[in-house]
C-alpha cells in the first residue's frame, strides 16, 4: 500500500495495515527470552530485567525456564568447550521462530579467553546468531539496544518470498548438530555450514 495514501487515510481516522505487519508486530512485542546465563554477563542481563532498566517495556518480561516456551536465547557469558554441546542442545529444543543474541566479548569471540584451550571462540560457530553485542560486560543499555535491533529485524521479515524467516521455510534447518566432546577438543571445532574462519593475512 502506498505510504502517502496510508498517511492520508490515517488522518481521516481509517487505520490500514497488512497481515504481515500485524503478524510481525505481534511477534516482535512478545519475544520471551530463555532464562539462562553462563557468566558475569548474566548479571547484566538480570539487571536489564529489573525495575531500573525494565526490559518488560519491550514485551520481554517473561524469562522462560524451559526452552520449549522461549523465543530468544541470550547467550550471556563465556561458553566453555565443555558447555558448548549443552548450549546447542538447548537451542535445538526451542521451537521456531527462535532468535539468538550473543552478549558480551566471550560469547561473540571468546573474549579475554580466546587464546586459551578451554573456551569456545564464539557461539556463532555452532548456532546462527542474530545480534552480537560487544562489551565486557555490555551495559544494560547495550542489551536493550540489541533487543530493539532484534525487534527491527523481526518487523522487517517477509512472510513469503526468498527473504522469509526460517520458520516459514520448510527447507531451512531448525536444529543444528550438537558437537561432541572429544579426547583433545570439541568435535567438530565449528559448524562449517554456518561459519567459516576469517582468512588470515599477514
Amino acid at each position: 500500500m502506498d505510504e502517502g495514501l496510508r498517511s492520508e487515510l490515517s488522518k481521516q481516522g481509517v487505520f490500514t495495515t497488512t497481515l504481515e505487519e500485524l503478524y510481525n508486530w505481534g511477534r516482535k512485542n512478545s519475544v520471551w527470552p530463555l532464562q539462562f546465563g553462563l557468566a558475569c554477563c548474566a548479571i547484566e542481563m538480570i539487571a536489564t530485567t529489573m525495575a531500573r532498566y525494565d526490559l518488560a517495556r519491550f514485551g520481554a518480561e517473561v524469562f522462560r525456564p524451559s526452552p520449549r516456551q522461549a523465543d530468544l536465547m541470550i547467550v550471556a557469558g563465556t561458553v566453555t568447550k565443555k558447555m558448548a554441546p549443552q548450549v546447542v542442545r538447548l537451542y535445538n529444543q526451542m521451537p521456531e521462530p527462535k532468535y539468538v543474541i550473543a552478549m558480551g566479548a566471550c560469547a561473540i569471540s571468546g573474549g579475554p579467553f580466546k587464546q586459551g584451550y578451554n573456551v569456545l571462540k564464539g557461539i556463532d560457530r555452532y548456532i546462527p546468531v542474530d545480534v552480537h553485542i560487544p562489551g565486557c560486560p555490555p551495559r544494560p543499555e547495550a542489551l536493550i539496544h540489541a533487543f530493539m535491533t532484534l525487534q527491527n529485524k523481526i518487523a522487517g521479515q517477509d512472510l513469503t518470498g526468498p527473504n522469509r524467516p526460517r520458520h516459514l521455510d520448510s527447507a531451512a534447518p531448525s536444529e543444528f548438530p550438537v558437537p561432541q566432546l572429544g579426547e583433545h577438543d570439541v568435535v567438530p571445532p565449528s559448524n562449517r555450514a554456518l561459519w567459516t574462519p576469517e582468512v588470515i593475512t599477514r
Binding site: Y117, L181, E183, H184
Partner: protein, 214 residues
C-alpha cells in the same frame, strides 16, 4: 605464643614418625616462606601428626596446588686449576646439572583453633609419567577433595586413597593435562588483530605462505 619454627616442627615430626624423610625447601624470595618436603610414603602420617599435635593443631587446609617441574639440564661452567704438562693452568670445565622431572603438590595448612599458620607441605612424584602417584590427604583434611581433583585434572597427579578421583573442570573423555608445561593445545588459532608474545608465534605459524618470487 608464636608458632614454632619449621626446623622445630621437622625435628619433632622426625621423632614422632619412624622413617620419615623430611627436607626443608628454602624460599629465597623476601617472604621467606620455607616449606617442608615430605616423601610420599609418610605423607599421610605427617598430615595426621600436623593435624593432631596439640601444639600445632593444623586443622584447616586452605589451599592445595600443583607445580610441574619438567626435566631441565643446565650446563654449569666452572674454572678449575689443573697441572697440565707440569704447568699450572686454569681450565674451564662444564658439568651438567639436572633438575626437575617431577610433579609437585603443595598444601597450605592453618590452625583455626590455635590461630596460627601457614605451614607449607610439599609432595613430589617419582616422575612425570608412570610414577605420578601420591597419597591423597583428603582423609585428613576434607577441604582437599575438590582441589586434589583439580590437580588430577590439570596436572595428572594420581591421588591414591581419594574418595572420588574424577576430572572436575575438563570433561570426562578428555585425555590431556592442560597445566603441564609440555601440553600441546588444539591447533585452533583464529585471526587476532594485534597479536603479540606467544600469540604472535601462533599467528606466524598460521600466516599464509608468501607468494613465490616468480
Amino acid at each position: 605464643m608464636p608458632m614454632e619454627s619449621l626446623e622445630q616442627i621437622k625435628a619433632r615430626a622426625e621423632a614422632a614418625i619412624a622413617g620419615v624423610c623430611l627436607t626443608i625447601v628454602q624460599n629465597e624470595s623476601p617472604c621467606a616462606q620455607h616449606s617442608l618436603l615430605v616423601d610420599g610414603g609418610h605423607a599421610l602420617q605427617l598430615a595426621e601428626f600436623l593435624r593432631d599435635d596439640p601444639a600445632l593443631r593444623l586443622d584447616f587446609c586452605s589451599n592445595v596446588t600443583g607445580v610441574d617441574w619438567p626435566e631441565k639440564v643446565e650446563k654449569v661452567k666452572t674454572k678449575v686449576k689443573k697441572i697440565v704438562d707440569g704447568v699450572e693452568k686454569e681450565i674451564e670445565e662444564t658439568t651438567e646439572k639436572r633438575s626437575g622431572g617431577y610433579l609437585e603438590v603443595v598444601y597450605h595448612l592453618y590452625s583455626m583453633s590455635q590461630k596460627q599458620g601457614p605451614v607449607v607441605v610439599r609432595l613430589r612424584t617419582g616422575n612425570r609419567a608412570d610414577q605420578a602417584n601420591l597419597p591423597s590427604l583428603t582423609p585428613v583434611w576434607r577441604s582437599c577433595e575438590f582441589q586434589e581433583r583439580e590437580i588430577y585434572d590439570l596436572y595428572g597427579v594420581i591421588f591414591d586413597g581419594h574418595p572420588d578421583l574424577r576430572r572436575i573442570l575438563m570433561w570426562d573423555g578428555f585425555k590431556d593435562h592442560p597445566m603441564r608445561r609440555d601440553y600441546v593445545e588444539p591447533d585452533d588459532y583464529e585471526y587476532e588483530p594485534t597479536p603479540h608474545d606467544d600469540v604472535l608465534d601462533k599467528a606466524k605459524a598460521h600466516y599464509p605462505s608468501p607468494p613465490s618470487a616468480n
